[in-house]
């Protein structure tokens, strides 16, 4: 497909820029060229623990993402459509929205213990208010005309949600999902380096302590590569299908 080849070309340009920048800088310990990352990447992949850590991190990201999106969407929908409840929960939302990730993570570890539950809870609690804040805005903008139509024709609530509400929330939800995964993965990194014994975040911190920039980049980009794949193979096709009506 033409769009896929454009993606590749554009990625190559980005890599080209990077190579140029790295050559200009001339200090591979601070700004290594991507070419120099290939060999350590390959080593970590085939002999090293990269796949293991990537797996752990991905597992945490996926689980937290699903939990946070589900809870955040529900909360946002309720707050966006019920002004009375919104008034009540809005201050809570602001508080949790602005509670620093670090603080929440540390508190979770302290209260729940230094374990996986605490890690996931920390990420989910961090992300829910974010999703909710976005979804709430989308819910506030729901078309009153379509709602009237659905009321008059007594549409089933589940049908209404799926076929009337969700498509209207499309932009907000895909936006929240896309920036959501990114934010979640960033929080997972912090969670991992503060109190887990595996995962990309753990490795990045390890190499950061050793001041080994190339390895830090190898681990960062292994997840980014995964996300590029997910984006190209899942998110974009799904989005294309969901917004087909707009381009028709």
């Amino acid at each position: 497909m033409q769009s896929q080849s454009a993606r590749f070309l554009s990625l190559f340009c980005l890599i080209g820029l990077w190579i140029a920048a790295s050559a200009a800088r001339g200090d591979p310990s601070v700004l290594p060229s991507p070419v120099n990352l290939l060999e350590p990447f390959w080593r970590e992949l085939t002999q090293g623990p990269l796949l293991y850590h990537l797996g752990r991190t991905t597992g945490r990201v996926v689980l937290s993402f699903l939990l946070a999106m589900a809870a955040g969407t529900a909360l946002g929908l309720v707050m966006g459509t019920r002004p009375a409840l919104d008034k009540w929960f809005d201050p809570w939302l602001v508080v949790f929205l602005n509670l620093p990730a670090l603080v929440l993570i540390v508190l979770c570890y302290l209260w729940i213990g230094l374990n996986e539950t605490a890690a996931i809870a920390a990420v989910v609690l961090n992300k829910i208010p974010n999703v909710a804040a976005l979804v709430r805005e989308g819910a506030r903008a729901l078309s009153p005309d379509l709602k009237a139509m659905a009321t008059v024709y007594r549409m089933r609530p589940s049908t209404y949600l799926r076929h009337v509400v969700l498509p209207q929330m499309g932009p907000v939800l895909t936006g929240a999902a896309r920036s959501g995964i990114a934010v979640i993965w960033k929080i997972v990194l912090v969670v991992e380096f503060l109190g887990r014994s595996n995962g990309i975040g753990f490795q990045i911190h390890l190499y950061f302590q050793l001041f080994d920039v190339p390895m830090v980049l190898v681990y960062s980009f292994s997840f980014i590569a995964l996300m590029l794949l997910v984006e190209a193979l899942m998110l974009q096709p799904a989005e294309r299908r969901a917004t087909a009506w707009r381009r028709a």
Binding site: V30, Y109, F202, H205, Q209, L210, F211
Partner: protein, 299 residues
């Protein structure tokens, strides 16, 4: 007069020494002016030195050795020999490392922590035990390791020394000190693990700084060893909640003051090799050998 900008961890014990230097005017007396740039994270101090926003920082010599092997012109000036220990709750039945089989150990600083590596070597030598394989490790930020050890979530803990001091003050018991383990492994316990790090290029531009800084550092150490009132001045920044903590911190600090004079380079090389065996390439880089010129020439 030269200004020496020190990037320090705001909570680090190095502040005790640097503060004493400033307070006693040891910097001016030795021909430089010391300014402090406090940061909240060790990584920041490293970035500061590397990026040229600071002239000196504190790091452990293994790390410096690896950086030097990788081509950085870092040199190392001893600051402290203080090392960690592994502690267990007061009522723990454990008498030696071998009793930790199947137990959970909390480790601050990650799998490459020096104390942890030395203890692994020690367990191997003394008990033929693979400490890493036969126990479960929980890595975490020092305060979290501190807390989970006190709560009994872990059966033993290895932490940075000022947290160790607090843990001991809170009633935890030292199972083995890393000093003991080093001696048993035939290592020179006087090898300073922590030190000031300068760039050679900076020292070349400011030839008098190294000597002056060394004199000032020694001066501060002597003052702290001899004068209790110097400690009283430091007390506010030591964050000691009780007198017991204060005394423990003070004792442990003084115990970590290295001998004056040059570093035993052969001993250091042995040490480096041992670390290479346990920490692997990750820790010591791909050279495996101690890079020349690491230890600053003083005296």
């Amino acid at each position: 007069e030269t200004t020496v900008r020190a990037a320090v961890l705001k909570t680090g014990t190095v502040n005790w020494e640097l503060d004493t230097i400033q307070r006693a005017g040891l910097d001016k007396a030795n021909g430089f002016e010391l300014t402090l740039q406090p940061y909240a994270d060790n990584g920041a101090t490293r970035v500061a030195l590397e990026g040229g926003q600071a002239d000196v920082m504190v790091a452990d010599w293994l790390w410096v050795a690896v950086q030097r092997a990788a081509g950085k012109d870092y040199v190392f000036l001893p600051y402290s020999t203080a090392v960690g220990a592994i502690v267990v709750p007061k009522d723990s039945p454990a008498k030696s490392l071998s009793d930790l089989k199947g137990k959970k150990i909390g480790i601050a600083g990650g799998p490459l922590d020096k104390s942890w590596l030395i203890l692994r070597a020690y367990a191997k030598k003394e008990y033929g035990m693979d400490l890493a394989g036969e126990t479960e490790q929980v890595y975490g930020a020092p305060p979290l390791i501190f807390k989970s050890a006190l709560d009994g979530e872990t059966d033993a803990a290895i932490n940075f020394w000022h947290f160790l001091a607090k843990m001991k003050a809170a009633g935890m018991r030292e199972l083995v000190s890393v000093g003991t383990a080093s001696v048993a492994l035939g290592l020179d316990p006087d090898i300073p693990l922590l030190g000031y790090v300068f760039k050679e290029s900076y020292l070349a531009d400011h030839p008098d700084v190294l000597k002056g800084f060394y004199q000032a550092s020694r001066g501060a150490k002597e003052l702290l060893a001899s004068d209790d009132s110097a400690w009283e001045a430091l007390r506010p920044m030591m964050n000691a909640k009780t007198d017991a903590e204060f005394t423990q911190l003070k004792t442990d600090y003084l115990a970590g003051v290295p001998k004056a004079g040059p570093v035993n380079e052969d001993g250091a090389a042995t040490f480096f090799k041992l670390m290479a065996d346990y920490g692997g390439e990750k820790l010591v880089g791909d050279t495996g050998a101690l890079p020349a010129g690491l230890f600053a020439k003083v005296e």
